[in-house]
């Protein structure tokens, strides 16, 4: 029973992370509108963050904060989850924001120049 719930949890969490990555990749590859492509990149980001946090999780673990409550849990033999993936994801979220902001500004610039943001209508992209 215990093993089964664990398997279900892993399929659910890893599955949703992979699902988000695939949805984002699909949007990047298929969609023609540049804003939708940028949204796809953001969705890939979200999937990767979820995957990182899921890999750092330890079942029954608490947040890695030594507040009075957290210290009590550790003193009673409890464990804390891995803090390193959480710190890395904090970095990755900020970098993701920066990438999205610059990508959107480039989309705005392209729209101003070509009066369309659909990549199949921008003639100079074709050769």
């Amino acid at each position: 029973m215990n093993l089964d719930t664990n398997l279900l949890m892993s399929i659910g969490v890893y599955g949703s992370a992979i699902g988000l990555i695939l949805i984002g990749l699909y949007a990047v590859l298929i969609k023609k509108h540049l804003t939708k492509i940028v949204i796809g990149l953001s969705i890939i980001d979200a999937g990767i963050h979820l995957l990182f946090i899921a890999i750092g999780y330890i079942s029954g673990g608490t947040a890695p904060i030594f507040s009075p409550a957290g210290e009590k849990i550790v003193a009673n033999g409890g464990i804390m989850v891995d803090p390193v993936p959480q710190a890395l994801v904090l970095t990755a979220i900020v970098i993701g924001f920066a990438v999205t902001a610059v990508a959107l500004s480039l989309v705005i610039r392209l729209y101003r120049h070509h009066h369309t943001a659909r990549i199949d209508q921008i003639k100079s992209l074709k050769w």
Binding site: N6, L22, L29, G60, F66, P68, T91, I95, V102, S105
Partner: protein, 239 residues
């Protein structure tokens, strides 16, 4: 045809990711024994409360153990804000009719956002001041403050933030971060060395340089995100 190819590619990606993750059991303890410091995470968990007296281990990793990385991250954010401004720079031509993309909002929204705006600022300040005690920190608190400014910009069509003030806040915060790093180099051996007294665990004034750096990061992120939002919202549409 193209769609079929893409779906095939996605299936390959899904299969390879899935088989790779099959060997990574969900919820398995990969830290080893924390007391024996078998992994780097165990080292952080074992040493942070005693040696740094910072309650939040994630903050200790981001600001202290990987402080140089965070300095780089803040510079990336600064470069993104600056790049946004230079990419979107638009010389105003004479005789060109332009129209702001923002539409005025209703009186209800305007009154409500005026009411809630100071509360959002206080929440953001709380989050970054207590970054070493509770979940949160400079980046999160700065983002919260920027949402407050976003609310005001959306509610009031002619709400202006002074770019001069934003630049000064950003520069002073950045110089504080780098200056604390240099201070560590002067007083002790390495850049960003934690030279201040660390205090006792779970006090507001604990952790040496960590709260100071996180407050500086909070101000910097708030100013940068507000600048980015202001740049993006003040785009004029050609008429």
């Amino acid at each position: 045809m193209k769609k079929l190819l893409v779906i095939l590619l996605l299936a390959v990606v899904a299969y390879s990711l899935g088989t790779a993750l099959m060997s990574v059991k969900f919820g398995e303890n990969r830290l080893g024994k924390v007391q024996d410091e078998e992994t780097v995470s165990a080292f952080y968990l074992n040493n942070t409360p005693e040696k740094l007296s910072v309650a939040n281990v994630v903050t200790a990793i981001v600001v202290n153990y990987r402080g140089f990385d965070t300095l780089g991250e803040v510079s990336v954010l600064f470069l993104a804000a600056m790049g946004l401004g230079s990419i979107l720079y638009h010389r105003h031509k004479e005789g060109e009719e332009e129209e702001a993309i923002l539409k005025p909002s209703s009186q209800l929204v305007q009154a409500g956002s005026k009411l809630i705006f100071p509360a959002i600022l206080v929440l953001g300040a709380y989050v970054f001041i207590h970054g070493h005690l509770t979940p949160g920190g400079g980046f999160q608190g700065g983002a919260i403050i920027a949402t407050g400014f976003l609310l005001m910009m959306m509610a009031y069509k002619d709400y202006k933030v002074s770019h001069k003030v934003l630049t000064w806040v950003e520069s002073i915060a950045g110089v504080t971060f780098a200056g604390i790093g240099m201070w560590g180099l002067i007083v002790s051996q390495s850049f960003l060395e934690n030279t201040l007294p660390i205090g006792t665990l779970n006090n507001l004034f604990s952790g040496g340089i960590i709260p100071i750096i996180y407050v500086a990061v909070g101000f910097k992120v708030a100013a940068e995100l507000t600048g980015v939002l202001d740049t993006l919202l003040n785009i004029k549409d050609k008429h």
